[in-house]
Symmetry: C2
Subunit: 274 residues, 2 copies
Amino acid sequence: MDLNKLINEIKNKKSFLCLGLDSDLSKIPAFLLKNNDPIFSFNKALVDCLHEFIVAIKINTAFYEENGSQGWSTLEKTINYINLKYPDLFTIADAKRGDIGNTSDKYAKAFFKNLSFDSVTVSPYMGSDSVEPFLKYKNKHTILLGLTSNNGSKDFQISSSDRNSLFRRVLEKSKKWKGSGNLMYVVGATKSDHLKEIRSIIPDSFLLVPGFGAQGGDLKETFENGVNKNIGLLINSSRSIIYAGNGDDYLDKSLQVVKAYQLEMNDLLNSLDD
Amino acid sequence: MDLNKLINEIKNKKSFLCLGLDSDLSKIPAFLLKNNDPIFSFNKALVDCLHEFIVAIKINTAFYEENGSQGWSTLEKTINYINLKYPDLFTIADAKRGDIGNTSDKYAKAFFKNLSFDSVTVSPYMGSDSVEPFLKYKNKHTILLGLTSNNGSKDFQISSSDRNSLFRRVLEKSKKWKGSGNLMYVVGATKSDHLKEIRSIIPDSFLLVPGFGAQGGDLKETFENGVNKNIGLLINSSRSIIYAGNGDDYLDKSLQVVKAYQLEMNDLLNSLDD
């Protein structure tokens, strides 16, 4: 997807909400378990119900790999359904891949070409030649882990013994990589105090912000510190939306949560015009 | 697999060779393409032919994900076949996963429980709580990326602006994590000049050493700098073995390469007794 299209969708829908499909057989409503592919039924119904209020969908590959080739087939059905029926939604494979060049080539082909995701999350640990195979694809976006939302981010990404934190070096170096125009970054919502600093390094890039909802990130603070001239934010919530309910009315419960998020986003976006 | 069993296998077979199944439809012998599942046929024949001379098998998930749910099914058939027929081989899912805790839980379950791999490669970027879900499994091994074989390792793992290199911090910190007895480390064969330093930090851990063969690593140098009291090395080669030939005689060609590697390893191991 061309970035201008994503920016227009955000402005039209007054939403920068990303729906995270961390869909788990042990947590979805029990009545779905009689279906042939319960996770696909769950995903399809959620996307059909929520698509007007979201601009992006993030599929966390771990939740599909857990179910082996059957799970991978569910992932394929889900992304194919979204691409066919809702081509205006920006799709994210949350896969956190990254390997030596000839292997990253395969991952890039798997997610960008075969599954037609618009983007994939990638770990920077192995450096430029592990990421550049992803950056070659036109209108495909590589979302590099910057500063993640979990506590373990303090182990290496932010290091007290290190004047120049790793996450900052990742932002600074990756800007110079070939194809860096196709980079976005993961910055956890629980790290919104770092957002101003991050924006000083990568003012123009889109940020995928997970950790909102179940992990406790604050939307207003994230927005105020992270917004740029193109909005530049995709705020993800997974568990707080998809498991809002687990009975027959689960879609209504999810819709209530999403509408509340979208209303808050609407107000924040309108505040930019003041 | 219990580590003592792996150590005994190394001593009995006089080999610390790991076979990397980076199996690629575009590179396997053409006559296999008529088979129902060509990659599985290729893998099965290679393992049947080479198992006496190797102690470990590494399956690179990217090469299977490239073929979607069909590829994932091939991966399942391959690991199931190895586990059933050659339970003495140490199996590695080269997946380079890593995510927040509840997601790493899923990856650990996918590889350790469902697919019964003995080990999985994991990226340290997200820190302790992204790795510890893997470390909980008894007799399962988490192979953390330390210093990788590719050029991009210079971007963050080794950094001139940083007195205390990232890869060293990864080794030092991870030693203290809960369940760290289940840790092994990836150290590229192209980085054998760093092995003595690495051994001073993690003297007892097993190292998975890729980059031998197609990537140019040197076996003798790696062995001399990396061997410990339990040998402590698994040297992987993928392309130089599996694509040694691509005609009807591809197995013979692969066997010749593997026998030559094993003979060199036999001599290196015998040199320890001198």
